[in-house]
Symmetry: C2
Subunit: 463 residues, 2 copies
Amino acid sequence: MSMDTDPQPQGDDRDDDAYVLDPKTVTAILYAVEIRDAARLSELMAPLHAADIADLLEQINAFDRSRLVRLYEGEFDGDILSELDDSVREDVMSLLQPSTLAEAVRELDSDDVVDLVEDLAEPQQEAILDVLPVQDRIAVRQALSYPETSAGRLMQREVVMAPEHWTVGEAIDHLRNSDHLPEQFYHVVLVNPRMHPVAQVTLGRLMGAPRATPLAEITEEVFQIIPVTQDEEDVAYAFNQYHLISAPVVDDDGRLVGVITIDDAMIVLDAEHEEDMLHMAGVTESSLSDRAIDTSKARLPWLGVNLCAAILSSLVIAQFEDVIAAFVALAVLMPIVASMGGNAATQTLTVAVRALATKDLTPANVMRVIRREVLVGLLNGIIFAVVMGIIGMVWFGLPQLGLIIGAAIVINMVIAGLVGTAVPVILDRFGADPALASGTFVTMTTDMMGFFAFLGLAAVVLL
Amino acid sequence: MSMDTDPQPQGDDRDDDAYVLDPKTVTAILYAVEIRDAARLSELMAPLHAADIADLLEQINAFDRSRLVRLYEGEFDGDILSELDDSVREDVMSLLQPSTLAEAVRELDSDDVVDLVEDLAEPQQEAILDVLPVQDRIAVRQALSYPETSAGRLMQREVVMAPEHWTVGEAIDHLRNSDHLPEQFYHVVLVNPRMHPVAQVTLGRLMGAPRATPLAEITEEVFQIIPVTQDEEDVAYAFNQYHLISAPVVDDDGRLVGVITIDDAMIVLDAEHEEDMLHMAGVTESSLSDRAIDTSKARLPWLGVNLCAAILSSLVIAQFEDVIAAFVALAVLMPIVASMGGNAATQTLTVAVRALATKDLTPANVMRVIRREVLVGLLNGIIFAVVMGIIGMVWFGLPQLGLIIGAAIVINMVIAGLVGTAVPVILDRFGADPALASGTFVTMTTDMMGFFAFLGLAAVVLL
């Protein structure tokens, strides 16, 4: 059993980057690859966790990556594959000899194999499943039969369970006589005769309780059962909300079929956060190691949507060419009205998207939140209206211009508060992702309304 | 020992909101509060987890909240306080009778008390500490002596440990004879005679191994030691990166002083994500239950920064009043150039901020990522330049106008790729939060450069 007790982070004085791959190590590794020194490479890679090696492979360029993988092939660990980003993973898998790949996959737990193969094309998937022992292959195929992003794909099938009427002593003896305990488990799930989970007991409590204690007396207070078809998003929410460490998974008949542990839930939660953040900016699934042409393609659609939104704003401006021709100052000031509204809307939108994700924004408080956001828009709108009104008046010496820009800012910031909250809430209500598209739609609205309010008021007052 | 085995989410057919507080329950609870029916309220609240009750208290208005807390006071659980948002928490604490509050606080683990009191003013902090048993009070004071957001604030002081030379049998006997095992623990930490942690053993493995096995032979492969002064952000990163469940915490001399578990790390990770997302939009710490006036104040600073940025853009436009007066079409089209640049920059920026947070963007690949983003800007810029060039030409019948807007879009989208990556990287290098301010600064740059490139080219070509 190898033991990695090197307290690496302690020796590191750069607090801020305590765990990041040391640039010196990266340079040394790339040099070893350059001079094809396999022994030195092994030595440098030995202290690294599989997750760090995966990060390294993602960060170096494709040429170095292929040379590194070939040189390190003899020691290539299956866990590295699990930790890799999808885009780099396929690349690395194609670099490995079939025998190395088979060996690497055989080392993995069945839920990690599922993660590895679920995005592969059929023939590649089959090639990998073929190298697995029969039992694992069945487990992986079973998991793949559950819908994508369901609890069934996340769970481990190995569950440690005990009949609900057992005592602590019986459970301990049973565990100590089991041949095949999972590598990581934290609870014993109590089941009734129909194999329905009824409670769970932590190993710590099991250790601490007298042998004669019935298990039913030391069960955990918080106990959540996860249906196998539940979406992974809801699974992650439950782990986060109820501070779960592991939870039993049941089939449609309520029978225990597996267990999900917090590390799996944490990965989902992390992916959700990433998705929310990227979607708000109109970026879809991506990786830093994607090629420029792929990144370019991935970003085109939202830029296209944005172009259409921008053209709509231009059409609004085009309606007021006369008044702009008469007062060029309007062209100078109009982006300010749009920008303040866009900024206020983005603030509101971000808070709303986040609150929807954490289920803090619900039917119980949505009207109050919208009212509050509109009020915030009004308050801040008035403040900036005064500031900008004075600036506009002094700058261009036209008192009416100050009034116009002030009024337009108030109007646009109130609209920002309204659409910034209402748009994500409505998208969510209709089952769409509240983050996706909200940003573009909301700023399109504040741009158009900003130009319309400002130029429209100007046309009425100045012409 | 109470046991909550109600498999509530299973009975719920709205997949999408499997765990959210049911609006019907909320209505029923508020009705019970309205008619002051304490028995009915208890009945409705009984199946709810403390985290759900906290969510409920955050979602209802202040008046209902105070009536609910007073009616429910007799059964108020300490965990509800731990789960509440800071803003609502102080409000709720002030509603409780001192005796109820004391009882609620006494129920909590010392790390939860730390979380509860760390943001309170001195006298309130003292009042709460006074109700604790002496030993807990010392533990809380000790924790408060560590820097804010350090590992010392997160850790539990109760650690289950064993000398490194023990066997499985010795460890099990010791655990079974201990009076005070922590409620939740997952590992036994092995220490050397100087109390330095050297490895850890999971309870599952301890259960499964023969009694004569030395503990040193069944230690976990992945083992990370956390310095007590390490920032919680780095702690959360380590848990996420290395899939840790718990990790020992050591003082400056390397002696074991506590343990951090994954649930604490998960809360930090969640807060980090929230912070990144909000900071990018120029929103600081906030809660949906804040009052409008507080929210307004919190958002003013960034709106102020944005106003300055918008005025700078206006100053750029003001330099070209002549050419705009001659060709009003420029005023109509100029927001498109700025908007496309701003959108491309936000896409790039979001990817960069996220990659910095996950430590995927490092000195090893930063130059390659910047080159790629600039190339993506160039590629997409050319595509939209062609589209917009044609539209501009057809719309206004001026072929030069098509060329000018096309060229300006290419220039601005290349700049977007550059500043979208470089700004967060530079902020990060100087120890600032790459999310904070990036958004405003980056879009200010693309606004100014967009107007400058478009109007500048127009002045040269058209005048």
